[in-house]
Structure formats: structure tokens, C-alpha cells
Amino acid sequence: MIYADVALNAVLVAVIFDLYLLRSQMMTRKIFWKTYFLILPFQLLTNWWLTSNEIVMYSDGEIIGTRVAGAPLEDLLFGFSMILLTLSLWEFFAKRITPDKVAK
């Protein structure tokens, strides 16, 4: 499994957790997409800094080769999975810490 495979699987796992296991269903909420698209340019900025300075480097065989803001396209999948999982877990735990404050 190269980075591309793992990153795709990470998105899949995050989606399954969000929709079916944690049942936060962030993906169905507008606020999630607003948050995601606000963070995205900052991810690109961070990626650009880390890759243009060669702070992080990637092995050729591990990525498909398409780059966005200097970083492998795969990084966008990784980023999406982490943002989704973070917010999904946040809502999941939030509901359990204060059960009276149910989402939506």
C-alpha cells in the first residue's frame, strides 16, 4: 500500500465512522463543509511551507505524482480525513459529556 492507497482508505474510514459508527453525520451538515473549506487554504499554505523548504519529502513510488501547492495530492485526502474525524469525534464525545445538549 502506497500513500495514495492509505490516504484513500483513510477518507473511507473517516466517512464510515462519521456516518455509521459515531453517527455524528457531520458530512450531512452545512457547517462541516464551511469549516472544511475555510481550513483548506490554510492546509495548502502549511503544505507549501513544509514541501517548498523540503522539511518533509516524499518517495516517488509512494505518491501518484500530482502535486497541489507543492505537496502530493494525497495530502488533501489525509487532511480531509483528519478534519472529518476530528469534528465527528468532537460531536460524538460532546453528546456524551452533556447528553441534554443534543446536536442539530
Binding site: I31, K34, W49, N53, I55, L89
Partner: protein, 114 residues
Amino acid sequence: MAQFHYLMVLAFIGTCAVFVNLGFKLRIRSKLKLFLMTDAVILLIYLAWDFWAVTKGSWYFDREQTVGLYLFSRLPIEEVLFFIIVPLMVVLTYLALIKLSRPSSKDEKSNDLR
């Protein structure tokens, strides 16, 4: 200075986090437990992935541009901080946007978690 290159971007995100937290009065410290629970899972998953990928050679870090502290003698400490600071910024962005979409909720005394 080169050894702080990775740390600098984390400091930038951390600074943004402080300003968003204060500017939007999000009082993230009152939700510390919730954040720690969330981030514990994130750290577990993504550090395991990171460790596996670095071991495999998918990606690697410039030793000159990291401070030189390593987790499991493989992951720069910056990676650990990344998986704390970035999820924190994600949560703060989310909370700030919720607050923006609900301009009426001015009651700062309520212990609203979101």
C-alpha cells in the same frame, strides 16, 4: 534558525488558535476534557500511520529543519505537536463558525459545548 522551520508553521497555527479562541470568546479551556478525548483518538490513529509510513519510507523529514527530538526515535516531536495543534485549530474554526451562524446566542454564562 533552520532547525525551527517546521516549528515555525506550528507556531503560526498556534497563534491563529489563540486569537480565534479569544476573539470569538470560545473558552476552549472549559472544553479541555472534550478536546483531550477527541485528540487522544486522533493522536493514536495518525501517529500510528505516520510511524508506519516513516518506517516504510513513504516520507521523511529533514533533520536540519527539525529541533532534533524524536518520538520512538523516528517521529520528529513536531509531528506530535502537529496532531495536537491542527485538530485544536479545526475545532476552534468549527466553534467560531457556529457562533457566527448564531448571532443571538450572547449568553456567555451558558455551558454550551458547541
